[in-house]
């Protein structure tokens, strides 16, 4: 995609003014880093970080059947949700492979919000539109909605300083949401994130995004808040073993082999991909997504082959990076079942050099309670 067709979020000017390095990502010009990925990563682990994730897609569904429409397209079960609660889910095709991973928010029984990956918006919107036809209304609200993630052990303290409503957000359970006013902006705040830390993700009108962004940075200044880019977002999510669509999961992988069986409710009514997933479960699958850490000197990267101890190919690395919080190098990858047990010695083919690694338990990083 050429530079001049890239879209910009409402916060583009803020990033440029901070001299962020901007890169094309999912059709948007996004900040990959401001000061440095390590520094931003550690700010989120130790204090707070602020992410512009306005490129994510937001679908608003309204009507009595909206919940049922969503339920027919996802692997998780919306009947568990009450007003103001959300869940993480996969959406699969008829083959049971993953077309996107989503967060589904129930605002009211007849009003729902679905957040999809920016890279999948062009497939997810028509996919949901087709299912909604004649049953409920659906609007792609992505362009008029900004999304800012405030993450880290001091995230809620920052929110408390940004507005009176922020002070009560600590009462919001994980995966719950409510309206709040922060930095003078009307927002929808959800206790969710993609970093492995406590924190919130905040939706607001695109027109209010700059006021909210600046207000949160100002409120958090004394607490050590830092704006954080896509690079830190990636290392943070990898340490927390949160899947990245396009790397760890895609339409060639199914949720069962990807370690996302917990999002698949095969006991619920029919949904797209259910029959295929039932068949996969019955037949068993021959590969599994595992976490590993490097033993030898090397950094695993997306696409590097994985080998067993004797050098036979057993799979592929889907994500890999030095882990700034852990002082080691980690990765995720699919390996043939039989090589997936914790403690198994494997090797990563780092551009022709076989470097030793070991399968480890995940998440790699767990925040202190």
């Amino acid at each position: 995609m050429s530079q001049n067709t890239l879209k910009r979020t409402p916060l583009y000017e803020e990033h440029v003014a901070r001299k962020a390095r901007m890169v094309p990502f999912a059709g948007y010009e996004m900040p990959v880093q401001y000061e440095g990925v390590k520094q931003e990563h550690l700010a989120v682990r130790n204090a707070a970080g602020l992410f512009d994730v306005s490129h994510m897609g937001e679908l608003e569904l309204e009507g009595d059947e909206a919940g049922a429409v969503i339920d027919s397209l996802i692997t998780n079960d919306v009947s568990k949700l009450t007003d103001g609660r959300a869940l993480y889910t996969c959406a699969c095709n008829e083959r049971g492979t993953i077309i996107d991973d989503l967060i589904v928010y129930r605002l009211r029984a007849d009003k729902w919000l679905v957040v999809c990956n920016a890279s999948n918006r062009e497939t997810i919107v028509p996919h949901f539109m087709a299912a909604a036809q004649g049953r409920c209304s659906l609007e792609d609200a992505s362009d008029r909605t900004a999304l800012i993630a405030l993450q880290g052990p001091k995230a809620l303290a920052v929110a408390a300083l940004a507005g009176a409503d922020g002070g009560s957000l600590h009462e919001l359970p994980s995966f719950a949401l409510r309206d709040a006013e922060l930095a003078g902006v009307e927002c929808l705040v959800a206790r969710t994130g993609y970093t492995g830390e406590d924190g919130v993700e905040i939706f607001c009108d695109a027109a209010d995004a700059v006021a909210l962004w600046r207000g949160l940075l100002e409120a958090g200044r004394e607490l050590g808040i830092a704006p954080a880019g896509l690079a830190a977002r990636d290392t943070l999510r990898l340490e927390a073993r949160l899947s990245l669509y396009g790397n760890d999961i895609d339409d060639t992988t199914n949720p069962l082999e990807a370690g996302l069986a917990w999002t698949v409710k095969l006991g619920k009514a029919a949904f797209l991909g259910k029959d295929a997933l039932l068949a996969i479960k019955a037949a068993g699958f021959n590969r599994k997504l595992v976490g590993f850490e490097m033993v030898g000197r090397g950094i695993a990267r997306h696409g590097y082959p994985l080998l067993d101890a004797s050098g036979t190919p057993i799979g592929v690395c889907t994500s890999g990076s030095p882990a700034p919080s852990l002082d080691k190098s980690i990765g995720l990858g699919y390996v043939t079942v039989g090589h997936d047990a914790i403690g198994t010695t494997i090797q990563v083919d780092c551009r022709g050099k076989a470097i030793e690694a070991v399968v480890v338990a995940t998440p790699f990083y767990k925040r202190p309670i």
Binding site: V37, A231, T235, R297, G298, I299, S321, P322
Partner: protein
């Protein structure tokens, strides 16, 4: 725009520097390269003392959190020193002192005039201006 460029050496379009020290030519990467890479987390030098090396051939890699960059030999010759132990132990040296302590290899050149084809500091500055 001003750049961190040393006047006592020459440069390549791959953002490496080369500096004559006695009979050998010392090779490293430039401040611009370091800035583009970010936090350096791994340096692999795949040559040993006594190896012959061809111009344009990779001799190692520098990796940051997000990316990997190949190191290319700017000149042909025989490797006489490798800063291996230092850089493998402390890759962050590259961030701290890319023009000094974080030199990569020293090569005794096959052709004593080999540096003439590389970029002088002014030409390298022009190259960097074009990169912005």
């Amino acid at each position: 725009m001003s750049h961190d460029i040393k006047s006592d050496r020459v440069y390549t379009s791959d953002h490496e520097w080369a500096k004559t020290e006695g009979d050998a030519i010392v090779i490293g990467i430039t401040a611009y390269a370091v800035q583009q890479l970010g936090d350096i987390t791994l340096v692999n030098l795949d040559v040993a003392e006594g190896d012959t090396i061809e111009a344009g051939k990779p001799f190692g890699t520098v990796e940051s959190v997000k990316t990997l960059a190949d190191l290319f030999a700017p000149i042909a010759g025989t490797v006489v020193r490798v800063n291996k132990a230092n850089l493998e132990e402390r890759p962050e040296l590259v961030n701290d002192d890319c023009y000094g302590a974080a030199w990569m290899v020293a090569i005794a050149p096959t052709d004593p005039a080999c540096l003439e084809g590389l970029l002088d500091p002014e030409a390298y500055a022009v190259l960097l201006d074009g990169a912005h």
